[in-house]
């Protein structure tokens, strides 16, 4: 490739990534050369501005045609735009949390690292959404993972933080290995790493040995990527890591990282296995053949997440299990494989992003003040800070999936898909509904603490600006999308033709 062709490439489609990348570089340099006495918080605001800029750049591409550069390794289609927007939303909110994060033992010394690592992780996730190639997918994934490892352990002198990072690295390493192993088989059977080319080659797959191998690769990929989703059977790291990691990082892991996980899972499963035939051309694709396996994973995830959450006394751990459960719900949507799958996953992730980040904002305030992460620290919150308690109440209600909130519409959409699918997933949807009821127990347990119990101390809580922003966005968003979900649906439907673009 000559310099000329290099220049002729349509680099503009990578504008959002470049913005983030540039700002990372700037932040690194600033951090190096700024006087030590200067508050690094300003860098956080720069990061936020960068994400907003990236968001604008992404939004500008919405509605455009499918574009790809570098031999289709990087592509812009509706799918990538939709999910990139989600990631950027999540990212900006997490950064808002991060600039307001001031634990007692302090992260001031590496505050700047905090911000650009966040941005780097975000960049990894963004690359994942736009990858059309296994290699770029893998690079994006690892960029996200490795920065997350560091982020989890960023409180260097905090034992739990170290431990959570260590656990994260080891599990992450194993999961990467399993995923890669699966990928290597897929590559071996197609001879290419480009996803669409793979799909083209696998359409006519008929050799039963190859099918067998490919299916094993499918299982390996699913299990390996389950790590990112925190879905069964690769969910067990989540509680420990969530508990130990700094709260903004936990929020990041539970939202951005999870969205990225779904992006890569959908991308690979749909393009590769959605076409890989089982018995020659025109036969049932592997993905449909393996639907029940996905269903089992989804069911196990929902059950484990919700049931074990009942036993928790630590708020972050509880939210870890809750996020496992939500991954299960999302897997139900994925399992149904209906036409509105993208809509429902995207919408649910949006709702989940809002409610979970909002909840973590409050958790951050409470845990910072209390110095611990026990659920009991929420006692009497309604007395101490009624607005905070009511906001948390609304977010919990949304998480539990009560009507009037985005969480409900999201669940409704998933149910609809599960029942609409042919064959309908009655059992899976029923498990989802039943475990949702189980979830009332622990969500309302927090409510009990907040509203019914007397406070341990009556000290007032001050809400930093960043937290306030997140809370307002989260609460207003949750309710707005609960009452007028068509805002989101119409946006999706009018501007993003995911199904049409996905395989172009």
């Amino acid at each position: 490739m000559s310099l000329e062709t290099f220049q002729q490439l349509n680099w503009s489609i990578m504008t959002p990534e470049f913005i983030i990348l540039g700002v990372i570089a700037v932040l690194v340099l600033c951090d190096l050369f700024m006087p030590k006495t200067l508050d690094r918080k300003i860098l956080g605001w720069v990061g936020i501005a960068a994400v907003f800029a990236a968001m604008a750049a992404t939004a500008a591409m919405v509605g455009g045609p499918v574009q790809s550069i570098l031999h289709d390794t990087f592509r812009i289609d509706s799918f990538s735009l939709a999910f990139k927007l989600l990631l950027l939303c999540g990212g900006v909110l997490v950064l808002f949390l991060a600039v307001s994060y001031e634990p007692k033992d302090g992260v001031e010394r590496y505050q700047a690292e905090f911000y650009y690592l966040f941005l780097a992780a975000l960049l990894g996730a963004m690359v994942m959404t736009s990858s059309g190639d296994l290699i770029t997918l893998y690079i994006g994934l690892e960029l996200l993972s490795i920065t997350s490892y560091i982020l989890a352990g960023i409180r260097k002198f905090h034992l739990q933080s170290n431990e959570s990072a260590m656990k994260y690295v080891i599990n992450g390493g194993i999961s990467t290995a399993i995923t890669l192993f699966g990928m290597s088989y897929v590559y071996g059977l197609t001879g290419t790493t480009n996803l669409l080319e793979m799909a083209n080659k696998l359409v006519t797959l008929a050799n039963s040995n190859h099918v067998y191998l490919l299916t094993l690769a499918f299982l390996m990929l699913v299990v390996g990527l389950a790590f990112k989703l925190a879905a069964a059977p690769f969910h067990m790291w989540a509680p420990d890591v969530y508990q130990g990691a700094p709260t903004p990082v936990t929020a990041f892991l539970s939202v951005v990282s999870k969205i990225a996980g779904f992006v890569i899972l959908i991308r690979i499963l749909l393009t590769v296995f959605g076409f890989a035939a089982t018995k020659g051309q025109g036969s049932m694709p592997i993905l449909y053949d393996m639907q029940n396996y996905l269903a089992v994973i989804a069911a196990a995830t929902m059950i484990i997440g919700n049931v074990v959450a009942l036993r928790q006394t630590d708020i972050k751990r509880m939210f870890a299990y809750s996020s496992i459960a939500h991954a299960g719900y999302l897997l139900v949507a994925l399992t149904s494989l209906t036409t509105n799958m993208f809509d429902s996953i995207w919408f649910y992730l949006l709702a989940y992003l809002l409610m979970n980040l909002g909840a973590f904002a409050i958790i951050q305030v409470i845990t910072e003040k209390a110095g611990g992460t026990a659920i009991a620290d929420f006692a009497g919150l309604y007395r101490r800070a009624p607005v905070l308690a009511v906001a948390m109440g609304i977010l919990l209600i949304s998480l539990a999936g009560f009507p009037g909130t985005a969480g409900f519409i999201g669940k409704l959409n998933i149910f609809l898909g599960a029942f609409y699918a042919e064959p309908a997933h009655y059992v899976l949807a029923s498990i989802m509904i039943a475990t949702t009821v189980v979830s009332y127990f622990y969500y309302f347990g927090v409510m009990t603490q907040m509203f019914f119990r007397p406070p341990a101390d009556d000290s007032k809580l001050n809400i930093p600006f960043g937290i306030l922003v997140v809370l307002i966005v989260a609460v207003v968003g949750s309710i707005l999308l609960g009452i007028m979900p068509n805002i989101a649906f119409d946006f999706m439907q009018n501007n993003l033709d995911i199904i049409g673009d996905f395989f172009k």
Partner: protein
């Protein structure tokens, strides 16, 4: 007659007025009640006289629509209704008046009058109803009025228990009526009496159904009229103020059962079995209650058992086909039993006890009450010339001519017993010496005695409207236009009348010798059969029997259900919750904090999925 519907509304007005402003009116409440019942009485008399010359009047309006069915409410004035209206409003008016004196000084005076108003409203409504549903509605309201009045002295435990018992026992009967009524409806598509009779006559209802519904309805009558085996509430009901006993538990409400059977007489006539049931229950109750009455020592209880017994008489009459006899006795009994109760009230008012063993020698002290009581006693005993004689004679004739010699014999024995215990009562209360210290025994005020005098006159003369000698005016009128109800007057052999007279006189004499002249020791009889006496004076242990069976079974069953509720229902819930929590505990325990376990679980998961695939999808496909 078009305005007959106003009759029940006056007492209702009285009830509502007294509820709202009674507290301010205090004793003046009595005037509200008396005036309004007087208005009812006047209207009733007018209606009664109008009915002599005019045919039955009926009016109705739509009350409730159920799909295609329109249930109506309305009123009807036929012979029986008109007569009942008169009896009820008369007795009610008299009792209202009497109570002014009797209840003097009670702090809930106005409440008493309000309740009386409610009851009178319900009773008048009951007798004016043109359909069985409306009858049932008022039937229940009457029960409530009775319940409230029995429990008027609510702070007395006995009154509370008696009120409760009265309500529940009658309710048991009511359910019979309820079922019977509904079954009849589905058979005839109507609640109207006239429609029902038409359907029965037309034969569109099967015989079994007629018998079943008739007996079910009769169960309602059993409850209300205190017939065996649902009679136990009536004696206990004497816990209420005495005027109430006179009004409700002698003259009117308890007669509602008889009235109901009379009102539905064509239905009963259509089923031999039902009729026989009525007769047998009536006959048995008559002698059964009379035998208990022999040994009671509470003045009101004696009268109560006497009431039960007399109601049995009426049932017997109806059961034997003696429609006129039954209704006739219903009327005369209303007068003389109300008289007896009011007189007994007067006695109680004077001596402040109800125990006849503590009374005696009151004849001289109660110059007016005593003779009136004697008139009542003579009337109920069936001494010739008084009202009770004529009506009782009719019943005996009806039983004999109806072909029930055994029942006839029972009735005769009951008549003897009645005469005996009534005179026992009379002698013990009014003759001899006072058996306990009695101070300030004074005759009651005239507001109490006047009603008694009026009733006394009626107790004597009421019988003459239907006699074998001077013509059966009442009978002719009652069956006029309804030949199905039977003959206006059944001509019986003369010996029956003689036998009745002999029997009642024998009873009186017997009582005189034991309690009047005391020439026979009172334990002459009771001493002979100690066991029997104990059994009888304990009312055949029926209350105890119910307590041990029905109540025990219900309570036991309830506790059994509670076991189910706590262990089975709750247990399953606890089990499910426990299972989920146990699952959570296991899950949490597996989360050991060992990072390698986590990896192992993930790999294990992969392995399991792969193995399953290998077995089902790969090699085994």
């Amino acid at each position: 007659m078009e305005n007959a519907w106003l009759i029940p509304l006056f007492p209702l007005l009285s009830f509502l007025l007294l509820l709202l402003i009674g507290k301010r009116l205090r004793e003046a409440s009595a005037y509200v009640g008396i005036l309004l019942t007087l208005a009812s009485l006047v209207f009733s008399i007018l209606v009664l006289f109008e009915r002599f010359s005019e045919p039955t009047y009926m009016a109705k309006v739509n009350w409730l629509t159920i799909g295609e069915v329109h249930l109506t409410a309305g009123f009807e004035v036929n012979q029986l209704n008109a007569l009942m209206l008169f009896i009820v409003s008369l007795v009610s008016f008299l009792v209202h008046t009497y109570s002014k004196g009797y209840m003097q000084g009670d702090e809930r005076f106005h409440v008493f009058y309000a309740y009386l108003g409610l009851f009178t409203f319900a009773m008048l409504g009951l007798v004016i109803s043109p359909n069985i549903l409306q009858t049932y509605i008022f039937w229940e309201l009457v029960g409530v009025g009775s319940f409230l009045l029995i429990g008027f002295y609510f702070y007395k435990e006995e009154a509370k228990a008696a009120a409760k018992k009265a309500f529940i026992m009658t309710r048991i009967g009511d359910v019979g009526l309820f079922i019977g009524m509904i079954l009849l409806f589905w058979q005839t598509q109507s609640f109207e009496y006239s429609e029902i009779f038409k359907a029965v006559e037309a034969g569109s209802v099967s015989n079994t159904m007629i018998t079943l519904t008739a007996i079910l309805i009769f169960i309602g009558a059993i409850g209300k009229s205190g017939q065996f085996p649902l009679h136990t509430w009536l004696p206990d009901a004497m816990e209420g103020p005495t005027p109430v006993s006179a009004l409700i538990h002698a003259a009117t409400m308890v007669a509602a059962g008889v009235y109901l059977v009379a009102a539905l007489f064509p239905l009963f006539l259509a089923s031999k079995t039902a009729l026989l049931t009525v007769a047998v229950i009536g006959g048995f109750t008559a002698i059964f209650a009379a035998s208990i009455g022999l040994v009671q020592t509470d003045i009101k209880r004696v009268l109560a058992y006497s009431t039960v017994s007399q109601l049995g008489y009426m049932m017997l009459a109806l059961g034997c086909g003696g429609y006129v006899a039954g209704v006739f006795h219903l009327m005369t009994h209303a007068f003389f039993k109300a008289l007896l109760f009011l007189a007994a009230g007067s006695v109680i008012h004077a001596v402040h006890t109800q125990n006849i063993e503590e009374m005696g020698g009151l004849w001289k002290k109660l110059k007016l009450t005593a003779p009136l009581f004697l008139i009542g006693t003579l009337a109920i005993s069936g001494v010739p010339g008084l009202s009770g004689f004529f009506s009782k004679d009719e019943i005996l004739v009806a039983a004999w001519e109806g072909g029930h010699p055994v029942l006839f014999l029972l009735a005769l024995i009951a008549a003897f017993m009645t005469a005996f215990y009534m005179f026992r009562l009379f002698f013990m209360v009014f003759t001899g010496d006072a058996r306990s210290e009695q101070r300030d025994v004074n005759e009651s005020p005239s507001v109490m005695t006047l009603p008694m005098v009026l009733l006394g006159i009626l107790a004597v003369v009421a019988g003459y409207i239907n006699t074998p000698w001077f013509g059966s005016f009442l009978g002719d009128w009652l069956v006029d236009g309804n030949p199905i109800l039977g003959a206006a007057h059944i001509e019986g052999p003369a010996w029956i009348m003689i036998a009745a007279t002999v029997v009642s006189l024998a009873g009186i004499l017997f009582a005189y010798f034991i309690y009047g002249k005391r020439s026979i020791a009172p334990d002459w009889l009771s001493g002979k059969g100690d066991m029997l006496h104990t059994v009888v004076s304990n009312k055949y242990y029926i209350d105890e029997f119910y307590q041990m069976t029905v109540v025990a079974i219900v309570t036991g069953f309830s506790y059994f259900l509670r076991l189910i509720d706590t262990f089975l229902v709750e247990g399953i819930v606890k089990g499910v919750v426990g299972f989920v929590q146990g699952l959570g505990r296991t899950g949490a325990k597996m989360q050991s904090g060992q990072v390698q376990t986590y990896g192992a679980v993930a790999f294990l998961g992969l392995a399991v999925l792969a193995v399953i695939y290998a077995l089902t999808g790969g090699y085994l496909r």
